[in-house]
Symmetry: C2
Subunit: 332 residues, 2 copies
DNA sequence: TTGTAGGCGTTATCAG
DNA sequence: CTGATAACGCCTACAA
């Protein structure tokens, strides 16, 4: 396994009979070299199979032309769409993205951010707002722009692009109450910050209507099975339950499954509202009512803000609220 | 945004009153420096907030202590589990993972592999077997070990860890036939290589039983809605259809939804087998019969093979078959 | 146990 | 338009 030495700019230069400096220029600004020279350089690159080595440029304090994205989960369409939104912008600007995931753990986030910084990323997009002290310290030290995407924290690290999850949950709860729910319950899982924000919005709406808020939760990750278990617990402990606001669509669909099995009519006996507006909610019967979070757009806007900041243009606003809406569902 | 210069080993060394060489040693082999020196170095590191810079070591050793993982999708539990399997191994060995996703596009894969190589990764784990010629050329050039995870290609680039998807689909089809299905159909989406392998296995089993294989497909990504549409098409074009082998659980669950709506009894009138054994299949009623792919394990084994190869130990086998099994479902 | 010297491949800067 | 030079921060190899 003695690696064949990788092809360098010098190799290309030797093949063409020029200096590596010209090759380097051609790669970055093709127009800055003579057209004919460029052609010959390109030919040599194709023949020899040159692959860029980012280490030296990172070293020479030039920008790495890379940004880091930190997401909590690799199996959630929400973050998948966000990343695609980000990349739709960065790709065009010639920026590379380095992706890391945390399993919703702030210490894992800390480690992954340290790793991304070790690659000299020019900026970071984070998707959580809970950070360890060391994380905050590292980010300050690094002095690079940071966007917190998804939420709108009162005190952002730097910039924030997202929506008000508390208000969204509040409106959803009001909707349940307006439709005649007497005792809607909030179903929660994993208890990350967004889940807690939604809980606060739910509680707010309940208190505004002189109702007692009730949360039934698990600290496990949310999935369909968890939704089944939570609704079962809710009805056991709070038999009056006639509606649920779920912290995400997975739980909500689990609730639908369970109600079907138990012969509980939706929405007559049980109203259900989910969160995120994923495809599965549109495929079940009856179609799930859910809150749509524009995550591709959040990714795009986050990337634009970040790139502007990297280029020294501080955006006018530190917060960008993308808003939310409801799907046309039949469950609540 | 003029960046404050990042803290370097030299800064730590100056603070302690030693040379950066000793600091560098402390970071890599703490035992190689005097205990007391180590303590003072650690204190300075904590105070100044040193973050490693990987660029220089990449440059000098042409090794990065990092491996790259390329997955097709960021919203699929299959790959999420695979990555976690990989990281469970690499973390302990002090290797970093760089993650990239391709949206099931071989040219996107090519670009992402080029980017990973530009970071001087010491090895790569790929999850597709279709590669462009340029990809093959780059990988050969780079001379680093590569594991193709998930499948067992006849001609692997280097090493392969996975299972025989064709045989799995063949056995699933046999199972449908043994249970009395007269005209099982294969439902497919996106038509990636694994979907095609399963189709081949299905067709093989059908021909072995003197039945005419029928595939109903879409080139779109698979999701629950697609499952509904495919079963609807299947029954319209092939009214005798009394069973389906689905290329994944998402499609299968969509089929279940649709059958529920149409009052088609499962499994009496329609037998269904999915693929991957995801949670949702265990949460629906009736519980989905599915093929379990041990993806966490695939990740672990892939990582072990890769690290061994990086350290110059070529594994005994180039192929590692992890096998498959069925969930205890009620749908087929 | 700690220090010194040199080099890794690229880019910024300045010169031609 | 192209070339020469220096620098980036760390690690290998060797020396003390």
């Amino acid at each position: 396994m003695s690696k064949p030495r990788r092809v360098t700019l010098q190799d290309i230069a030797d093949a063409v009979g020029i200096t590596k400096m010209t090759v380097s220029r051609y790669l970055r600004q093709p127009d800055a070299v003579a057209a004919q020279t460029g052609t010959r350089i390109q030919a040599a690159i194709d023949t020899l199979g040159y692959i860029q080595n980012r280490a030296p440029s990172m070293l020479s304090r030039a920008s790495s032309k890379a940004i880091g994205i930190v997401i909590p989960s690799l199996s959630n369409q929400v973050f998948s769409a966000l990343v695609q939104g980000v990349e739709s912008v960065t790709r065009e600007c010639g920026y590379d993205t380095l992706l890391a995931h945390t399993s919703y753990d702030e210490y894992e986030e800390q480690d992954k951010i340290a790793a991304l910084l070790s690659y000299q990323v020019d900026g970071l997009i984070l998707t959580e707002t809970r950070h360890t002290n060391k994380t905050r310290q590292m980010l300050k030290q690094a002095g690079i722009p940071v966007v917190e995407a998804m939420e709108l924290p009162a005190l952002p690290l730097d910039m924030a692009v997202g929506l008000d999850h508390q208000q969204a949950a509040r409106q959803a709860t009001r909707r349940l109450l307006e439709q005649g729910c007497r005792a809607p319950v909030y179903l929660a899982a994993r208890m990350d910050t967004r889940t807690l924000l939604r809980q606060a919005g739910y509680a707010q709406a309940m208190l505004e209507a002189d109702r007692q808020p009730v949360t039934v939760k698990t600290t496990e990750a949310s999935n369909f099975s968890a939704g089944r278990q939570l609704i079962e617990s809710a009805l056991r402990d709070y038999p009056a339950t006639d509606g649920v606001l779920c912290t995400n669509d997975d739980l909500a669909v689990g609730v639908i499954f369970w109600c079907h099995e138990q012969g509980i009519a939706i929405p007559q006996q049980m109203k259900i509202i989910g969160y995120n507006g994923l495809d599965i909610g549109q495929a079940v019967t009856p179609m799930l009512t859910s809150i749509i979070t524009p995550r591709f757009e959040i990714g795009q806007i986050s990337a634009r803000y970040l790139l502007e900041a990297i280029n020294g243009v501080r955006p006018a606003r530190q917060h960008h609220d993308v808003g939310f809406s409801f799907t046309h569902g039949m469950t609540g």
